[in-house]
Symmetry: C2
Subunit: 160 residues, 2 copies
């Protein structure tokens, strides 16, 4: 049962992660002013793959735990917000809307970490790296906003 | 407890639905040849809002049910795939990749309907309109592919 659950949760992660693959950082992102501590491009897929594996293990463990109602709802919420950020930031190239989505994602992951900790220690622990990474991504989104105020104010027109 | 769960699941639906709001059907979609039975543009947000309410009720009921492990994992999977389709079809304007995502979404919603039915009759019932609508969307995606083979083969370049 654990492995069936793990694979379904991993498929959900894969669906969310696909948005990252279909809207990769391109010239627009490269040309933005970025802080000196910006992680290199290769770090993003490596980190996300690791985090997705952690999330899927946590999801499967939580599903098999008692009193997991809120935990299960929060797991679904964070994966939907996770799928949303890349299309907003890299798809629409909207730095400010990206910041809003990332803030909501951060809140949902923080809520996950706290609630999961109470249901299953390991599941909560497995969400800690995710919380750290979303904090870094949020700081990066904020720094990009600060360093590129004109681009943030006037996002490029999208072809409709 | 039901209402807290309902609101968290609804927030997940709202996050997925946001992709539809940020990649609305534009001139590209209007200029495609479409079958005579294509629903009018206004029908999409109305239908999705209704379906999202049904999904959130189903999610909350399932979370409070016994033996809901697979059901909870499948609920998370369908919402991630739901969030993915619009960025692929309307964002990237990729008709064939959209068909792939929609096929996976259809499979996940069909699995949800069957599994939910065994856990909580009403939850399964609430996913039936969703399954019907995704079937219509799938038929529409397929018809658009058939009627616009050149556009499907050569999707417009995306600004990076």
């Amino acid at each position: 049962m654990f492995w069936v659950l793990f694979l379904i949760f991993l498929a959900a992660c894969f669906a969310a992660g696909t948005t990252g693959a279909i809207f990769p950082p391109g010239p627009w992102y490269r040309d933005l002013d970025k802080p000196s501590w910006t992680p290199p491009d290769w770090a993003f897929p490596v980190t996300w793959t690791t985090l997705y594996l952690c999330m899927a293990v946590a999801g499967a463990r939580l599903a098999l735990s008692e009193d997991n109602q809120i935990a299960m709802a929060l797991w679904a919420l964070q994966i939907a917000l996770n799928a949303l950020w890349t299309p907003v930031f890299f798809g629409l190239k909207r730095i400010r809307s990206g910041m809003l989505v990332l803030s909501l994602l951060w809140l949902s992951v923080a809520a996950c970490t706290v609630v999961f900790w109470g249901v299953d220690r390991l599941a909560g622990f497995l969400f800690l790296p995710y919380l750290v990474w979303v904090s870094i991504a949020g700081a990066l989104n904020a720094a990009v906003w600060r360093l590129n105020p004109e681009v943030a104010r006037n996002p490029p027109e999208q072809a409709r």
